[in-house]
Symmetry: C2
Amino acid sequence: MRIALDAMGGDHGPTPNVHGTRLALEANPDLTIVLVGDQAQLEPRLAAAAVPANRVELIHAPQVVEMREKPAEAIRRKPEASIFRCWQLLATGAVEGLVSAGNTGAVVAGGLKTRKFLHCVHRPGIATVMPTAKGRCVILDVGANVFPKPRHLLEYGVMGKVFAQSMLHIDRPLLGLMNVGEEEGKGHELVQKTYELFRTSHLKDHFYGNIEGRDIHRGTVDVVVTDGFTGNVVLKLCEGVFEFIMGMVKSEVIHPLPHDRELAAQAAVQLVGKYHYSAFGGAPLLGVDGVCIICHGSSNERAIANALSVAALDCRLKINDKIVAELEQLPSGNDD
Amino acid sequence: MRIALDAMGGDHGPTPNVHGTRLALEANPDLTIVLVGDQAQLEPRLAAAAVPANRVELIHAPQVVEMREKPAEAIRRKPEASIFRCWQLLATGAVEGLVSAGNTGAVVAGGLKTRKFLHCVHRPGIATVMPTAKGRCVILDVGANVFPKPRHLLEYGVMGKVFAQSMLHIDRPLLGLMNVGEEEGKGHELVQKTYELFRTSHLKDHFYGNIEGRDIHRGTVDVVVTDGFTGNVVLKLCEGVFEFIMGMVKSEVIHPLPHDRELAAQAAVQLVGKYHYSAFGGAPLLGVDGVCIICHGSSNERAIANALSVAALDCRLKINDKIVAELEQLPSGNDD
């Protein structure tokens, strides 16, 4: 199995990508990693990290999309950037998947440009796993498609269901539609029409109906379907609230303790590690014909290795085949 | 000063409303409260709670909008419901403000029906105060207007600014537009057009630009402007994340402590009380000609009293006059 890695992507440049490669190769004996990036920077790092040369390939890409660069401009001005080279490899079948911690917008734009979507998919969406009081849920889209059509959301429901079954081992996932109230008829036209699509599709037995913001972490459903604008705000808000509350817990609960301060502080650090949203690894861009995992820009080597392993697992589990088989059960719908 | 109270509103019926009335009267010597609701239920409760009879008036309303009732249906089927009677009192000038812990959608629908908006306001919006790492911020709209126009969001910026100045005592509030990334040009058409309106208005020196979900609790800005769909999800998500994390803190940090478990548990309870979103009192529906405070359905007497006091303060500070004066500085804009 061959996975391409955008070796220049992320806030910390090639180093965590190279070390993540070594860790992922150790964990996945069937894996070959194609590192795409600046040869002059990658070769010495690969040698220094003692990455087995027979299990990596290096493809030179002379350009890098910066983290704050506008995707549309990047695609025009830097066609040879590492992330776009990864997509070319995927589009030509040279690799089965790709992983990038680079500019998320550019990763998505590269994917949209290849137009290599799965059969029956109108627009790919980014899925993210979140912790809940009952375990885990998957939420999508979290930013690929900020103004979707109802049909897109229906397809995200299918993709989320298959993902929850295959990756989260939930036999009969329950799907919820993010809204401002539980009652049918709530919200704007997009969610009203989407509600109707779910209710009349073969997913109806999996469809919980509308959910509210507080339902996500209560674990009311296993799959949260939402537009990419709302989903992106949700994702980043969770990060912010988590940070804020843990700060308050440290100063107002842990710091004043006379005896157990050290112990409590250690437990808090562990909790942050366990429930921090970045601990849930990369986020798959579902709906493309191939595997694409988008990592947090601040990913360390462990996060990169984790994402490479998830990409390999996605390939092994043939998630895309399952998504297509299920999408084919939907009534044919156009992109509106 | 006369404030109407929807005495039937809320999950717990008239009791917390009656007790909240007593507390608010004690705290506000200039206040008269007009209780609107079922006379037969209210009279004995007012007597039992020893509410001073010379400072309350009772207006009988034979109907109640249930918490899960659809607002549009309620307005048609129950024109004499307590919340709609409150709006009639406001519209005729019989009271200066109203407070309700009832069905939020019905409160908003009642307000929209009176069409008694402030000069220059196209659509009212609900504002909520949230704690941040730097103090407090105000976010609006959190649910009155789920599919707004850019002009509405610009007006929310003005209202939020005046609110932050008057109620949060922030001299020069910084305004942020909720988006999926900081860079100009991010997001869908609504936020792109709104960005441009802010950038070219007299608010431009107060305009921070786009913010992301994680910025809210970091306190990056003092006023968060967003559509009512996103804002409502944000509000309820915060509640859910807070609940979730405090649950984890209790079981994983506090419970295992050998010596200080009790002390830490007490501090956690205090923290929950201090930072819980319901502790920030009622949410004003800004933009109506009068004062309207919407309370959480689960409000206790303290929350009702708090909301009545805030309504009285809004009247005293003449927030609406300030909003109108500032809205008049905007270039005239139509509702698109």
